[in-house]
């Protein structure tokens, strides 16, 4: 099953740092697996927990939110607010029974093309390890929810 599983990842990137970091990864031709779908927002502070859960609900196997490093926010402190908000996401993922590793918050600067590629690769690999989104994986396999 493992090699057949192609995770679907939603990645939220802020316009100024991490989207630029993703661009730099491209310019530098750093390769990473093709599973992520990037949604560009102006600031990580725009990302609401509900977007993350909507993605899971609709079948995402992993969700990653990326922003400028703390202190680097183009909008002064949007990323700090994102960090605060994403604590709730982590908590809820825990109690809801979605594996915590399916969600990640990362700070990636415009100069960290390599980091962007690394983070994406690592995240996608992690999701491959975890297997499909349990909500859907279960249905596909027709089994009870697996541990």
């Amino acid at each position: 099953m493992d090699n057949m599983f192609k995770p679907r990842i939603i990645a939220f990137c802020c316009n100024w740092c991490s989207y630029a970091g993703a661009d730099l990864a491209g310019v530098s031709r750093f390769q990473y697996p093709p599973n992520a779908r990037i949604i560009r927002v102006m600031c990580s502070g725009r990302v609401e927990p509900r977007f993350v859960f909507r993605a899971f609900e609709k079948g995402a196997d992993g969700v990653i939110v990326t922003g400028c490093h703390i202190g680097d926010c183009h909008y002064i402190s949007g990323n700090k607010k994102a960090e605060e908000r994403m604590k709730l996401v982590r908590y809820l993922i825990g109690i809801l029974g979605l594996e915590e590793d399916r969600f990640r918050l990362e700070w990636i600067s415009a100069s960290e093309g390599q980091k962007f590629a690394h983070v994406m690769t690592a995240f996608i690999n992690k999701i491959k390890e975890l297997g499909p989104n349990p909500m859907f994986g279960k249905i596909e396999e027709g089994t009870e929810c697996q541990q």
Partner: protein, 434 residues
């Protein structure tokens, strides 16, 4: 306002000056000798005292500048003459052939991939290589290739021509000639920046001789995620990350012998930043900063240093080391220093030494001074008309100075002076009826 102005130098000061002028409606010609604007700030990893990512905050400004309808960015260009008096200057710009049709080049990079010639990469302080057709760095503005004529096989041996073959946009033009452009401007802002001292003659530190002795700007590229080692600090002989790093201040500055008697103003702080970055990359690293007087004079600088001491456990040693000796077997470096606080000379063995070298006026400053008819001071910085009362005016009316070329200063001070110079330039233009 209308009218026009010339800005010399596309570093952060030149960019800020251009934007300030252009946003008031003044037509700006921004002349930069390199193929990309950005200056030294584009080379830095982070900036103190906030540890902001340098290119992250600069790149939007570079793009804004290039896209601005009132700014004509002329890269790979030099000023060759200036005639007339303010507010009616006539300037000539030599636009060097980059052998690329700027309108056609999409910056795709196909050519670079197929170019067979590798040369040391100046942007990465020659720590890695680039091709003969190149973008200086990934975030270059404009995103247009340049052919290094001295090294390109087409020019040196009339061979290859790969770039022309692969370029789908048909942007390669080996026949392109240098161009002279004559412009009328009301005022000039000079922001020609600085150069970084290479301490080869300072035998006591072994730079150029010991592989693990680096200058700060090299370190800056090494620790930068987009640098030659992707942000990994590696030391000889094993390519492992260092366990101890020593940062040495005042290498070539505050030094009569090395002809830079002045304080470069930024080293104490960037060393603090660089030490912090080392700690952030490898939390077990021990970082030592050897300083003479810690010039943490800017806003929040002292607090930054206090934080470096407290939260990052960076050790500050009040001494300018007299000698670095390498153990040839291990490439480890012994720093000999006389700590003012402890009475005896001591030594410290480290894996890497970072020399925080002097920043000196750009080598082009002399020539620019001659062309513009403005004076330089004893240190080679542009002389202010009145150091106390008019620090942004040069010795000639209508020509203003900004940034490091007018004396040592940090980024915010350069940006401030750039705005100041553009205010004065705007006055000249406004009073000329602009």
């Amino acid at each position: 306002m209308h009218g026009s102005a010339l800005v010399l130098g596309g570093g952060v000061a030149g960019i800020q000056s251009s934007l300030d002028l252009a946003n008031k409606g003044i037509k700006v010609y921004l002349v930069e000798k390199e193929p990309s604007i950005g200056g030294v700030m584009a080379l830095l990893d982070k900036t103190f005292p906030t540890n902001d990512c340098s290119i992250c905050i600069l790149a939007p400004k570079m793009n804004e500048c290039f896209a601005h309808s009132n700014i004509e960015v002329m890269t790979y260009s030099e000023l060759t003459s200036l005639e007339g008096e303010a507010p009616n200057f006539q300037v000539t710009i030599l636009k060097k052939a980059r052998f690329i049709d700027e309108k056609k080049c999409t910056g795709c990079g196909d050519c670079t991939q197929k170019c067979p010639t590798k040369v040391p990469n100046k942007y990465n302080m020659n720590l890695d290589e680039r091709k003969a057709i190149y973008l200086p760095f990934p975030q270059s503005v404009p995103r247009i290739m340049t052919i290094d004529k001295e090294l390109c096989l087409k020019f040196t041996k009339d061979k290859c021509g790969n770039c022309s073959k692969v370029c789908k946009a048909k942007a390669i033009d080996y026949e392109q000639k240098d161009e002279e452009i004559v412009l009328q401007v009301g005022a000039v802002v000079v922001a020609s920046g600085f150069e970084i001292y290479k301490p080869i003659e300072m035998f006591e530190y072994g730079y150029g001789k010991y592989p693990n002795v680096r200058t700060a700007i090299e370190y800056e590229r090494l620790i930068c995620a987009s640098g030659p080692t992707e942000g990994n600090l590696l030391v000889e002989p094993n390519g492992e990350h260092p366990s101890q790093i020593g940062f040495i201040q005042c290498v070539g500055s505050r030094d009569f012998r090395r002809k830079n008697p002045y304080c470069s103003s930024v080293c104490c702080m960037y060393a603090t930043k660089e030490a912090m970055l080392a700690r952030e990359h490898y939390e077990d690293i021990e970082a030592y900063i050897f300083y003479t007087d810690l010039r943490a004079v800017g806003k929040n600088f002292q607090q930054y240093v206090d934080r470096a001491k407290k939260d990052y456990d960076i050790k500050y040693i009040r001494a300018r080391p007299g000698q670095i000796v390498e153990n040839p077997d291990t490439n480890k470096l012994t720093i000999w220093y006389d700590d003012l606080i402890n009475p005896n000379v001591q030594s410290l063995e480290v894996d890497m030494v970072v020399l925080c070298t002097a920043l000196m006026p750009s080598t082009t400053a002399n020539r620019i001074g001659e062309i513009l008819g403005i004076e330089l001071d004893d240190n080679g910085f542009f002389r202010a008309k009145d150091l106390l009362g008019d620090p942004v005016s040069s010795t000639r009316d209508g020509i203003f100075i900004a940034g490091y070329c007018a004396g040592p200063k940090d980024i915010p001070e350069s940006v401030t002076q750039a705005s100041g110079a553009s205010a004065r330039a705007s006055e000249v233009i406004a009073q000329a009826g602009g």
